[in-house]
């Protein structure tokens, strides 16, 4: 028999799990969050902090819509977290650039944004800016940049303070947050609900279970009958010494943290579970940043790291209810920061199957089965 029972148990104490817990707590549910071990792969501790719309869902309208809703919900979400926890997130949504040194890549991305524009209509806007006009706006931009795209809806937050604020908020609202709680097995309990087994052999009973375990999702997903498998995609990041200078623009690969350091990233590599950084990729990041903004050449990099993105087979989020085990849910996505306000609000309605729940059918894992069969 399970040692104890709680209403809903979230497996995963990263940004996605904590947001999901926060929404349920605000709806009055009893919630336990099981956070893994320090050595686990933690995308929530290595990310770039973008709250980003530009280019999202260019090939998948439901994702474009979902992301647009999330971006619009961010100001109130950040204010709520500050109220509950006293932690400011340094949310800045004053627009973001993608810079290009290759005209073909610029044209391809511009076409993506046209498709996104067609999906979102007047809920979206974007600009294509040629290199010379860009340098008139921002004289810091180097001559190698042939152009940029700009989306006024893009922004960023301090991602580490977001994670801390979410933990504080979950605790403040009465959530039970267990650390070093690595779940090795999950099964339907004989009397209903679910029985979870931790690595040390202890157990935990729960009425409902939501799997938000990032890169730890796949093995538990299989046990609950979900077909979703996630894979890691490595990004490498640099951060510079803190500057008194304020970078006058935000881009998806170069952003200034509110404390002053400039963070540089955006690489993608298939390296399995290896989250180490590599010299050639770090050098390439630095070169790219200096070609975008030559004045960065004499700024020191003080830290570099690799982190693993959580990728579903098609890169889009998965919101799935188990058909075989009612009460079991799977939530996974790459953009846990951008989508955070929705995971802490309307996802609750979906989990509780309220009449006003959003239609997340397009994000069910059945789409993988269909594409497998095709």
């Amino acid at each position: 028999m399970p040692a104890q029972a709680s209403d809903t148990t979230i497996i995963g104490g990263g940004v996605v799990g904590l947001c999901t817990a926060l929404g349920l707590l605000q709806a009055g549910r009893r919630v336990t969050v099981l956070d893994g071990a320090d050595g686990d792969l933690r995308a929530s501790q290595g990310n770039f902090g973008l709250v980003w719309l530009q280019g999202k869902g260019a090939g998948f309208a439901p994702y474009a819509e979902l992301t647009r809703d999330a971006v619009a919900a961010w100001p109130n979400f950040a204010a709520m977290l500050q109220d509950v926890t006293g932690t400011g997130l340094s949310l800045d949504q004053s627009g973001g650039f993608e810079f290009f040194t290759d005209p073909v890549e610029l044209a391809d991305f511009a076409a993506d944004l046209e498709r996104q524009q067609a999906y979102l209509g007047n809920r979206f806007s974007h600009e294509i800016i040629d290199g010379d006009k860009l340098r008139r706006m921002h004289p810091q931009i180097g001559p190698a940049v042939v152009g940029a795209t700009f989306c006024a809806h893009d922004g960023h937050v301090n991602p580490l303070r977001l994670l801390r604020a979410l933990r504080r908020a979950v605790l403040a609202l009465g959530g039970d947050l267990k650390t070093d709680a690595h779940v090795t097995a999950v099964a339907e309990a004989p009397g209903g609900g679910f029985d979870l087994t931790f690595r040390d052999g202890t157990r935990h009973g729960t009425d409902r279970v939501v799997l938000c375990a990032g890169l730890g999702t796949s093995s538990l997903a299989a046990q609950l009958g979900f077909s979703t498998r996630v894979y890691p995609q490595r990004g490498e990041l640099l951060i510079t010494e803190k500057l008194g200078y304020r970078l006058p623009f935000l881009s998806s690969t170069i952003r200034q943290v509110d404390e002053g350091g400039i963070q540089i990233g955006g690489t993608k590599a298939d390296a399995g579970p290896d989250d180490s950084e590599t010299l050639d990729v770090m050098a390439g990041l630095a070169r790219q940043a200096v070609s975008v903004m030559p004045a960065l050449a004499d700024v020191r990099v003080v830290r570099a790291w690799g982190a693993l993105r959580v990728m579903s087979p098609d890169g889009y989020p998965v919101y799935a209810r188990s058909a075989r085990h009612p009460g079991a849910y799977l939530v996974t996505c790459h953009s846990g920061v951008t989508l955070a306000p929705l995971h802490a609000s309307v996802l609750t309605d979906w989990l509780d199957e309220n009449s006003n729940a959003p239609d997340l059918e397009a994000f069910d894992e059945t789409r993988f089965a269909i594409s497998d069969a095709a």
Partner: protein, 106 residues
Amino acid sequence: MKPASRFLTRPDQVGVVHMTLDGEALTARPGDTVAAALLAHSGAASRQSVNGSSRTAFCMMGVCFDCLIEVDGQPNTQGCMTLVRDGMALRRQRGLRDIARSDADA
């Protein structure tokens, strides 16, 4: 107690290195680090942190970053990891470093 009396001169340290600190003359022994030279010179603050508090070298082994100073125009140099050199121009920093600005950016 003169700050210099806190430091023993190594027997192999022969001669004097001439440098400047905010334009004023500063001498050190060859083989000293910038941080050691600054401590021996006065022990006064060698920079101000981002919130205006006074800082100077502390760990002397490259860990604490409290000894950051501008060396020959390069800001945020770790004084404890940099050997003195004749003609070196040191400048105390106030707050965070700036970035090299183009004329167009001014």
